[in-house]
Structure formats: structure tokens, C-alpha cells
């Protein structure tokens, strides 16, 4: 069952500067999709659009947006409020700023649960403790304020909040960027376990993190998906030169230690107008044909937008 069906997402400024330019994403139950790209590629805006949180002066338009079977394209704020936190929930990057510092973890959980479920405070409290247990925290953490917890525990608490009403679709925006390596691995494992019967959209700039967790990977560059397919396929035989370049940047221990080759130049500014394929300015395989924009083509399992793909 499709828990996310997003077709043709556009996010633009009032002046018509395109920040996300036609993104399609489909995620089935039990599936984890990694959305990978550099700063400014449009990853986080895509996440916000899935929660109906794109606000003026930005504007989001879709052809179709269905979350857990519910069509949200023309939904008003009231229906979004009903959906957010219940069918779809977001795990933020920075737990220091995302958690209200003057509220205990337990009261945040109870509030989130009571917002969507007509149950007593006592029952909500019991459920809150269940959620804490799910993410590996103790009941006494319910009475803790965020600053008393370590970064790893705060990230667990944030996951508990996102899971409070058992959402079908979980969106995690760089959920481990602020964490140490051993704690990052714990959280990734927890995310994988909790997303087993849900759908997970993992947003990250690190292909290594995506490979740890995701069944499929979509590579985003300058507001467009350039290659999307199974993680195994993208990681072993990437065809888009940008995917290849990102892969070369992922550090590996089993390789001769050498400094990875940087991608020449820098990513275009969000919304910058570039004729044709916007990666061509940094691409070693660019030809004259790339002055014309390639469309994303392929079948349901694999798509690519490139005139001169690798491994052909």
C-alpha cells in the first residue's frame, strides 16, 4: 500500500523562483526512502511540503499528494492539523531547538497524544510511557526537561514524540547529524525498527547514512530528482554522474586512504536559472546536448535524468 504518493511538487517564491521543481516520490508501507542531496537542493522544503508547512512567501503546488490514502492537494489548514502528528510526523534535526525547553518530555508527549485522541490524561500518560519504552528511554525520563538529557536521549525523545500517535508516514530530516557516531548508529537502528510497518522518508546529505537504513534512494540536485532506484543498485552501479560524485565522497575504510576528489565548483544557488541540466557546469561528462534539460525517465523501479549516464 502506498503511504505517500507525491506527484509533481513545485515550491517557488512569490517572484516565481523555483526551489523545488517537479519532484515525485512514492513510498509503500514498510519501505524506507532516502532523499539525498547537498545544502540548498530542496530536501527540507520537500519535507515541509509533505506536512503542509510551506508558508508564504513560499508557495507549494502539487498534482497529487496522498498521505496514508488521504488526498491532501487542496486540503485546508484544519485538515492538515488533523493529519499532522497523526498520519504523518516529522523528526527534526536539532533536538536542542525543536523541544520546548520549559516543558517536560512527558507533558509534551501527553499534549501530542491528547491533541489527536479522545482519551483521559491518565490513559495518555500510560501511552506516553509506552512510547518512551519503544525508543529505549525509561519511565523517569517523562519527568525530565530536555536540557537534562544527552543529545542522543533528546533525539530518542523526539522520535517518541513523532511516534506518539502511531503515524503511518514518518519524515526524518537529518535525524542524526548532530550526534556522535556510536549514538548515530543507535538512532539509525531505532528508526529502522520503528519504520518497519510504516513508511519512512529519510532526508540526509550523507549517502553512507542513507545506505545504512534505506531500501530506495532518490538523489536530489538543485530542486530536481536526478536518479532514483533501489539502494543496492544506486550504491553499486550509479549511472548519474552526480550520484557517482556523491558516492566518491563517502569515506570508506576498506579503501586506500586518500582525500576524496571534491566535486568541482559549488552547487548552484537555490532557484538559480541554468539552461539545460543544471549539473552540467560541474559534470565531467557534459556535452552540448546537456544544454537541453533531460527529463526523469525509466520505470517504476528506476529512473534517471541524464543524457550521458555511466555504466551503459
Amino acid at each position: 500500500m502506498k503511504l505517500l504518493d507525491l506527484q509533481d511538487l513545485h515550491v517557488a517564491t512569490e517572484d516565481g523562483v523555483k526551489l523545488v521543481d517537479g519532484v515525485d516520490l512514492v513510498i509503500a508501507q514498510g519501505e524506507a526512502l532516502g532523499l539525498v542531496g547537498e545544502s540548498g537542493s530542496g530536501k527540507s522544503l520537500t519535507a515541509l511540503a509533505l506536512l503542509g508547512l510551506v508558508r508564504a512567501p513560499l508557495d507549494a503546488r502539487v498534482t497529487r499528494l496522498a498521505i496514508a490514502g488521504q488526498e491532501m492537494r487542496d486540503a485546508d489548514e484544519t485538515s492538515w492539523r488533523r493529519l499532522r502528528g497523526r498520519s504523518v510526523a516529522l523528526v527534526f534535526q536539532d533536538s536542542t531547538t525543536a523541544l520546548n525547553p520549559v516543558r517536560t518530555i512527558g507533558s509534551l508527549l501527553v499534549e501530542t497524544i491528547c491533541r489527536h485522541q479522545r482519551i483521559s490524561k491518565r490513559e495518555a500518560r500510560a501511552r506516553a510511557l509506552d512510547r518512551l519504552r519503544d525508543v529505549g528511554l525509561q519511565p523517569h525520563h517523562a519527568d525530565a526537561y530536555p536540557h537534562l538529557l544527552s543529545g542522543g536521549m533528546r533525539q530518542r525523545a523526539m522520535l517518541a514524540l513523532a511516534l506518539a500517535n502511531r503515524p503511518r508516514l514518518l519524515v526524518a530530516d537529518e535525524p542524526t547529524t548532530a550526534l556522535d557516531a556510536t549514538i548515530q548508529l543507535q538512532i539509525l537502528h531505532l528508526l529502522r525498527r520503528e519504520s518497519r510497518d510504516r513508511a519512512l522518508l529519510l532526508i540526509t546529505h550523507d549517502l553512507g547514512v542513507a545506505s545504512e537504513l534505506c531500501d530506495r534512494i532518490a538523489v536530489l540536485y538543485h530542486g530536481r530528482v536526478r536518479e532514483i532506484g533501489s539502494a543496492a543498485r544506486l550504491l553499486s552501479t550509479p549511472r548519474h554522474p552526480y550520484t557517482r560524485a556523491l558516492l566518491d565522497l563517502v569515506p570508506r575504510f576498506d579503501m586506500e586512504a586518500s582525500i576524496p576528489t571534491p566535486i568541482p565548483g559549488s552547487p548552484p544557488a537555490p532557484g538559480e536559472q541554468i539552461q539545460g541540466c543544471s549539473y552540467r557546469l560541474r559534470c565531467p561528462r557534459a556535452t552540448e546536448q546537456c544544454l537541453e534539460r533531460p527529463t526523469l525517465e525509466g520505470d517504476a523501479d528506476y529512473k534517471i535524468a541524464c543524457w550521458n549516464p555511466l555504466n551503459d
Binding site: 556510536t182 556523491l246 575504510f253
Partner: protein
């Protein structure tokens, strides 16, 4: 190799509300001319505190820091500052938002009474790969990578012999990290600056450092040549750090076994015996009572573990 900067049994304590926290608990470390030494460890392991102690920022509870063999207190402050320069983590916070790039880079030159400042700023911009017109830009016009280049130019301005870089890449995108890393390696090759690199990313260490010191709860638990230490760690904590690094080569089944349980203990109440024992997959009775000392196990390789070398590959860990 000539020793340029060294810590001798350095301890740093902080007192708050009557409690004493030992952030650094007796560390010996030497940095030789022209080498890159990496300090790795998780948050709270004391990396940054040690770096600040080496910069002369913190009062020491015990031990001493020496620069070219002389105790810090006896070195002329302006000589020390000329020769030992910090590069900070976050280039969004370390540059004054109202100062143009040229002014930021020139500040240490004015302070240390250098002449011919304009020409120096121009050559520094060139050295870090920025075009001359960047001199007149304000930081808000720069990307994260460009800002970190400016921060690096500012650190290089007084022609230091030592750079102490605290997580200089962690605020940057991966593609930009590779650029700054290349730049650091090039600068070091040409100028023979000694680099103390603080990092939590071991793969980065593997690429640029000759030696590595692994910190846990304020002590060095393993130290040695970077390549051999990372290929065959002696301490189980080093092995676990290597295992925790996301990589593409690992299979799901591998990954399942490698999760280190728990979090580093509070430095306010360190566990008895070996501080790592509550998380250690091979801990035995002796580890709970007796703290292992940092001793040499092979030429140039030290570890503080009763069972050093028992886990050499990350895949040996099961918990």
C-alpha cells in the same frame, strides 16, 4: 622530528555548584613539527577542553603545556600567539558579520605588528583558493565553505607553526568537506605547519593524519600511527568507533552486531576500574576494579586496555 607543542600529564577541572568535573584527566601528548595529529572521541571526551588547554586558554589543575620545550608561562604571549593559531568549528559564528573579509584576515596581522598588510591579505586569499574580490565581501555573502576558507586564511595570517583545528569540517556539506580537506593537506605540504586536528569522523582522520589519539572520558585510551591504528585497533572503543562510521560496504547483518550500548558515562561520576567497561563488549572482572594504564603494545602504539588487541576488527564485536 622536533617536538613543538606538548601536554605533560595535563588535567583540567571545572567546578560548579560544589561539584568538580574533571574534563581532562591526565593527558600526555606531543605534536611534532610538520605532522598531523588527530584527536578523536565522542562529545564530552575532553577533545575541545584539551585543545583549549594547549592554546593556553584553560588553567590547568595539574601538569603543564610546553611550546618548543618551554613551559607556557615562560613563553612571550605574542610569540606563542603568532605560532599557535586556532581554527574554529563553525564559520558562521567565528567571523564578525559586520567585518569585511580583508579586515578579519588582517586583524591578527595588526595585533602582531606585521607590515605590508594589504599584500599579505591578498596572498592569503590566494593561498586558500579565494579570488581577490572576496577581500571586500561581508560574511553573509559567503557560503559555508568560503567562510571556512576565510577562517583558515585568518589563522594562517601570522605564519604560525601550529594550527589547532577543532572540527573544522563538521558544519560543512560533504562535497565542501573534501575541498577544505584538500586545502589543509596542500597547505601543510607546502608550509610544514603542524596540525592538531580534532575530529569525530574517523575516516577523515585516516585521510590526513599521521598519528591519532583516541579520547574517552578525559583520557587517551589509544594512540599510534593513524593507518595501523584504524586498520587494527588495540582498544575496543576504537574498534567500536570504526564500526559506527556509516559506510557503504557494510551489510545489514554486520551492522546489527556493531551497536555499542549506552552512552558515555557522566564525567561527574566516572565508573570505577576502566571507564569504558559499562559499554565494553569484552569487559571482565578486572576491568570493573582496576583501571588499565596507557602502555606500549607495539613500537609507537599505546593502549589502555587489559585485553588490548583482543578486538582488532570491528566485526569481532558482538553485544
Amino acid at each position: 622530528m622536533t617536538e613543538i607543542l606538548a601536554a605533560h600529564d595535563v588535567a583540567v577541572e571545572f567546578t560548579h555548584d560544589g561539584q568538580t568535573l574533571q574534563a581532562v584527566r591526565g593527558i600526555d601528548l606531543t605534536l611534532d613539527e610538520g605532522e598531523t595529529l588527530a584527536l578523536v572521541g565522542e562529545s564530552g571526551s575532553g577533545k575541545s577542553t584539551l585543545a583549549l588547554a594547549l592554546l593556553g586558554v584553560h588553567q590547568l589543575a595539574r601538569g603543564k603545556v610546553t611550546f618548543r620545550g618551554d613551559e607556557l608561562a615562560s613563553v612571550e604571549p605574542h610569540i606563542f600567539r603568532k605560532h599557535v593559531q586556532p581554527v574554529l568549528q563553525d564559520p558562521y559564528a567565528s567571523l564578525d558579520p559586520r567585518w569585511r573579509v580583508a579586515r578579519s584576515i588582517a586583524e591578527p596581522l595588526h595585533a602582531l605588528k606585521f607590515g605590508n598588510i594589504e599584500a599579505r591579505v591578498a596572498s592569503l586569499l590566494d593561498a586558500v583558493g579565494l579570488a581577490a574580490e572576496f577581500a571586500s565581501y561581508l560574511p553573509n555573502a559567503l557560503s559555508g565553505g568560503q567562510r571556512q576558507r576565510v577562517a583558515l586564511a585568518r589563522a594562517l595570517a601570522p605564519e604560525p607553526s601550529v594550527l589547532i583545528a577543532d572540527e573544522p569540517l563538521s558544519a560543512l556539506d560533504m562535497s565542501v568537506q573534501a575541498q577544505i580537506l584538500t586545502l589543509l593537506a596542500d597547505l601543510q605540504r607546502t608550509s610544514r605547519i603542524a596540525l592538531l586536528l580534532i575530529a569525530h569522523d574517523l575516516t577523515l582522520v585516516q585521510r590526513v593524519a599521521q598519528r591519532v589519539a583516541v579520547l574517552y572520558l578525559g583520557r587517551v585510551v589509544e594512540q599510534g600511527p593513524a593507518a595501523r591504528t584504524l586498520a587494527a585497533p588495540l582498544h575496543p572503543y576504537t574498534a567500536a568507533l570504526i564500526a559506527a562510521t556509516p559506510s557503504l560496504a557494510r551489510t545489514a547483518a554486520d551492522a546489527e552486531r556493531l551497536v555499542l550500548p549506552g552512552e558515555p558515562p557522566s564525567p561527574l561520576a566516572p565508573p570505577p576500574g576502566c571507564e569504558f567497561h559499562p559499554r565494553c563488549p569484552i569487559a571482565r572482572d578486572i576491568c570493573r576494579t582496576e583501571r588499565p594504564l596507557l602502555v606500549e603494545h607495539a613500537p609507537g602504539r599505546k593502549a589502555a586496555c587489559h585485553f588490548a588487541g583482543e578486538i582488532t576488527r570491528s566485526s569481532d564485536i558482538s553485544s
